[in-house]
């Protein structure tokens, strides 16, 4: 799963959001590192909808402009949970090894 897709699903995990809301939320989740642009966001949303991972919750017209709210489907929740567990397992492994290295270095330094 691409990082943008993962972050979009994560943004929707907290509740329904519209396009602009997803962009600001993804920016917040990533600590300002990932700034989604409209082309990336909507090609991803289109794919996620086709795959049944997200759905349209409702539509509103605000200032004469269409605002569509998206939500995570049960399949989307499951997919995000699996991906998060996978990333967590990798991160845990990486941190454990770094810690072992760090301890060895420290031990070496003392001796």
């Amino acid at each position: 799963m691409q990082e943008a897709t993962f972050l979009i699903l994560t943004a929707l995990a907290a509740g329904t959001q519209h396009g602009y809301g997803i962009i600001s939320d993804v920016s917040e989740i990533s600590g300002g590192r990932v700034k989604l642009l409209a082309g990336t966001l909507y090609t991803a949303l289109d794919r996620l909808r086709a795959d049944g991972l997200i759905g349209v919750d409702r539509e509103e017209i605000v200032d004469n402009r269409l605002r569509r709210y998206y939500r995570l489907t049960p399949a989307g929740e499951q997919r995000l949970a699996e991906e998060a567990a996978r990333l967590q397992a990798h991160a845990t492994a990486a941190l454990r090894r770094l810690k072992v290295n760090l301890n060895l270095n420290l031990a070496g330094g003392v001796a």
């Binding site: 396009g19 602009y20 642009l37 082309g39 990336t40 269409l66």
Partner: protein, 220 residues
């Protein structure tokens, strides 16, 4: 007295026109579903006073359009997706061959006149037939690829007939001894023929059948 406000309106109208031009690169079905919404997001992201799409947003929009056009249509099996790409490659290969024939017609004529003056007439007729016939063949490849991509069952049989014709013309060319005096021509034809063969096999695989046997044809 309302001048600044009017200016603001003009700015946003011209910015919106710029974005609509970029969105015109997207597939029709995608635009119908998403254009107004994307526009709302793009306008919301633009700082006040911006009159044209930023370079960053433009590149991102164009990349999205390319990505969408290269991706299989909704419900389209991978086999059909691959077959249509092979057919695009076939049209491209024919185009390359046509350009080669046109570009080398002069030197071919000179060489034939020099080596086999008696055959010059028939060789040049052959070249002229290619110059007229190949654009038609390229057109057939493209029209059939378009129709097959959209799930038209009739196009499958159209392409199968086209493949048979190609096969026959290749066998005739071989019988006439093309392989001896024009090996490059035969190799190019064989390459294009293999693409057509692969595409025919793909569109008649069981995995493709369900795409072409739907109740209603897939429009748009």
């Amino acid at each position: 007295m309302n001048e600044p406000e009017l200016h603001g309106m003009n700015d946003s109208a011209s910015l919106e026109r710029g974005y609509r031009r970029l969105l015109a690169c997207y597939p029709k079905a995608f635009r119908r579903e998403n254009e107004e919404e994307i526009l709302a997001v793009l306008m919301a992201c633009a700082p006040d006073g911006q009159t044209r799409p930023s370079l960053e947003a433009s590149i991102d929009l164009l990349k999205g359009a390319v990505r969408l056009r290269l991706r299989p249509r909704a419900g389209q099996p991978r086999t059909v997706f691959a077959a249509v790409r092979l057919m695009w490659a076939g049209a491209l290969a024919e185009l390359a061959a046509l350009i080669t024939i046109i570009a080398t017609a002069g030197s071919v004529k000179a060489a034939v006149m020099h080596g086999y003056p008696s055959a010059a007439g028939s060789v040049m007729t052959h070249v002229r037939v290619d110059e007229v016939g190949m654009p038609i063949v390229i057109g057939v490849w493209l029209v059939l690829a378009w129709a097959l991509n959209r799930g038209r069952d009739a196009a499958r049989f159209g392409f199968a007939s086209f493949f048979l014709l190609t096969t026959m013309s290749m066998i005739i060319a071989m019988a006439q001894g093309d392989a001896v005096y024009a090996p490059a021509d035969v190799i190019a034809a064989a390459a294009v023929w293999s693409l057509a063969l692969a595409a025919v096999v793909l569109i008649f695989l069981p995995a493709s059948n369900r795409y072409y046997r739907q109740e209603a044809p897939v429009l748009v």
